[in-house]
Structures are given as structure tokens and as C-alpha cells.
Assembly symmetry: D2
Homo-oligomer: 129 residues x 4
């Protein structure tokens, strides 16, 4: 899936480029969009006691994104187990690759204990999708 | 003009609502969108040596915005002088008013000295627009 | 009370100065410090069902703060009622005034209904303090 | 080196814990503190045309940090070449490990071209230090 984001001033730093931490915000924005596209609401999941805290995240920065750029965040499920899921991301401006990264999320219940990903959600997280 | 924003997780705080400072980010996002809609690029203006630093900002918080909400930021030019412009904002979720605010911006050159707003931009900033 | 903050890169924007929304973060940082200094823990208050959502905030920006600046956030209680409190702030770098602002907070319970400020906290919020 | 940070409300998300992207802000805060401790000013370096854009970053999240926590960010130089440096970080609350990560930075000049790390800075970046 591709999720489009417009870079705002508040995302940049004094180097005139997007501050490195903000790519993780962009990744999150794409994750929520992916869930919605597949018929799930992240808020609905939280209400059902299904949480996906991040256990790891990484990003490689290739070229800077700048203020007002319209960038595409490509997201895909790379892999998912019974209680975890791994997403991969690439951030592009047209044909240019700006950044690549991944996140891993555990599925936990309201008290933070690992739990199985609900079957319908697991089906929606088919790798490659 | 109305600019739509999807609230992300990173915008919320532990009260489960959008953190108060983030409304100023939403305002900024709407300002850039307004400029683009009127044929200006904020980046282009910066390149021409036309900057609009904020000299004041305020927000009144009526009801909380929450994760995943799709909110409308209404922006209008309230008033503009030779070297300053005032925007007013309201943030709505459907019919509900969530927040209202304003910002005032000085027009300055690259070295930070006050300068006249370029005529075409001044025309585009017609109050009420 | 004076609360010191070191400006980080992530606080700046491409103008090379602190992004305007971040002053509200600085104000919050000073509020928490004020509470701690007076023997209260904001987290403890939340656990007791005492919340202080912001109902209004403003800031006037005088001079820019820059990366690595060590800035002083002066905070004082301007006024407090039975179920609300108003703080005023000024941000300084040495003798220079960088920004001034205020916030107003309602005191609400866990379900968001107005409630009285607990007496010991009300005493700690003596105006001018 | 250990750099202490107080978690603010604005750093948390609706899970009641520090939002994952903010660890990268904490890392940056520790990097600046490390430079200052060794007699360098990141701002001074930028003024000399020595920039250190991030080329990669990662974080593993072990336990959540919460509002008001006083956390220790441990930072060390893991490795440095002629034109790059790698830092490793761990974030602790007392004895508890909360997160671990790394960043890699290229040394570039004002136009973004790779350049050698100035010798005195290179000496200050002695691995293990």
C-alpha cells in the first residue's frame, strides 16, 4: 500500500530537511492507513484489547525529504507470527528512494501480556500484501 | 478553506487525546495548504526571501480530538497589513467544534527585517478568503 | 520558578529556530517541574483522578531560540479558581526575552467532569508563587 | 556518558508510554550533550561547515518509559572512520533497561559532500569513550 504525506514545516529541522525521528511518525501514519484500508480500525482494536506496541524500529536515510514535498510511504507486511508482525517501509518522492525501514510489533492484551493476533486481522496481515 | 487531517498515534498523549501543542502543527499544515491552493508555494516564497515567522499564536480547546479522527481545519485570513497577516482557525470533527485559534505572522526578508508582502500574495490574502 | 531547557535539533525547523509549537512543550515541561518542586507529582494526580486539561494557550514570539541555546522558562500561577488555574510563562535566554505566554487549565475528574482542585494543591497554586 | 532526561506529557502517547519516535529525540539530546562534554559545540561545527546527518538509526524497545520518569541515556562511540561515526545508546530507568539503539552519521560539508572528520573531533570520538 502507498500512503501519501505532505511534509510540514514542523517536520523539518535547521538542516532544512525532515528530522530523522519524524520518519517513524510517517511509518506509523502508513500503518494506520493500511489497517483502515483492510477494514480495521486501530482504535477499534485498542478498544477490543488488541495492542501492537513496537518492539523494534529502524530506518536508513538515503536522501533528505524537504518542506512541502509530497512523499509516498510504501508499506508491506514482511512477516507475521502468532503474536507478532513485521512491516517494511520505503519512503519515495517520485522515483527517488528517500528512506527505508522496518518495525516489529508484538500483539499484547490490555495488561501488556502477549496474545494471539485475532484470526481476521492475521488474515489481513498476509505477507506481501 | 478546509484542510483535512487524520490524527495519528504520535499526536496523542497519555490522556488519549491530541496533545495541545499539536494543534499549532495542524494550523501550520492548513496554512501551507491555503498558500498552495492560492497558487503559492511556501518553499518558493522562502527561496524568494519572503518569510512569515509567527509573532503570536493562540488556541482555545473545546473538545478533545482523538486517535484516528478525521478532522477539518478551517482557515481564513482575518486581516492583513503591509507587512503582517492574521489567520483564524477552527478545528471541527463533523459538526463538533474542537478548537479555535489564531496566528499572526510578520513578513520579513532573509535577514529578518520587516518587508512588504509581495503584491500578488497580498491579493491572495484577501480577508474572508 | 525557573525551569531550564536545552534546545535540541529536533526542536528547530528549517528557519534555524525553534518551531513555534515547541514553546507549548517547553511550557508543559515547566508546569511539571513546578508541580514537582511543590511536592506534587503530575502522575500521582492523574492516578488520583485529578486531571488538568488545557482549555486555552497563547504565546507571543519576540526573538527566536536556536539550537543548543540554554533557555529559562519562568512560570508563575497568575490566578486560580475552584476548578481552574492560569499559568503565565516567559522564556528567556540570559537577559533576552524570547517569548511570553499563558495557559488555562480546568480541573476535571477521570470522566472529564469539572471537579474542585484538591485543597493542598490549591494552596500550592498560590498566585504569584 | 550518561545524559538525563525527564519525560514530559508531550512525549507520551495514548498507550500511556513514550511514543516510539521520541527515543530518537532522546538519542539526539545525548549526542549533543556528548559533544559539549568533549568541548565541541554542535552549532559551532555547523558554522564551520561540519555536518553529521544521520544515515541509519535503530531502536529496540524493551520496557516502556512513562510520563515523569527520569531516564538515563547512555551514549558511547562504537566506531568511527574518516568520514563516519557510529554511536550506541541504551536508555535506563535506574537498573531497568528500557531501550537500546544505534545511529550512524556521515560527515559532510555544507553542500552535502562527504568530508573528513576534523582531527580534533576525531580524537574526541575515540571508541569506547
Amino acid at each position: 500500500m502507498i500512503h501519501q504525506i505532505r511534509v510540514i514545516f514542523g517536520d523539518t529541522d535547521q538542516m532544512g530537511v525532515v528530522y530523522y525521528a519524524n520518519y517513524l511518525r510517517y511509518f506509523e501514519s502508513a500503518r494506520s492507513a493500511l489497517l483502515r484500508e483492510r477494514g480495521f480500525s486501530a482504535r477499534g482494536l485498542v478498544d477490543q484489547g488488541v495492542n501492537f506496541p513496537v518492539t523494534e524500529a529502524s530506518c536508513r536515510y538515503r536522501r533528505p525529504a524537504r518542506y512541502e514535498d509530497l512523499i509516498d510511504v510504501h508499506i508491506a507486511v514482511a512477516d507475521r507470527g502468532h503474536a507478532r508482525v513485521r512491516f517494511v517501509y520505503s519512503v519515495r518522492r517520485g522515483d527517488e528512494l528517500l528512506a527505508e525501514g522496518h518495525t516489529v510489533h508484538a500483539c499484547v492484551d490490555t495488561s501488556g501480556r502477549p496474545r494471539r493476533i485475532p484470526p481476521d486481522l492475521r488474515a489481513a496481515f498476509m505477507p506481501g500484501g
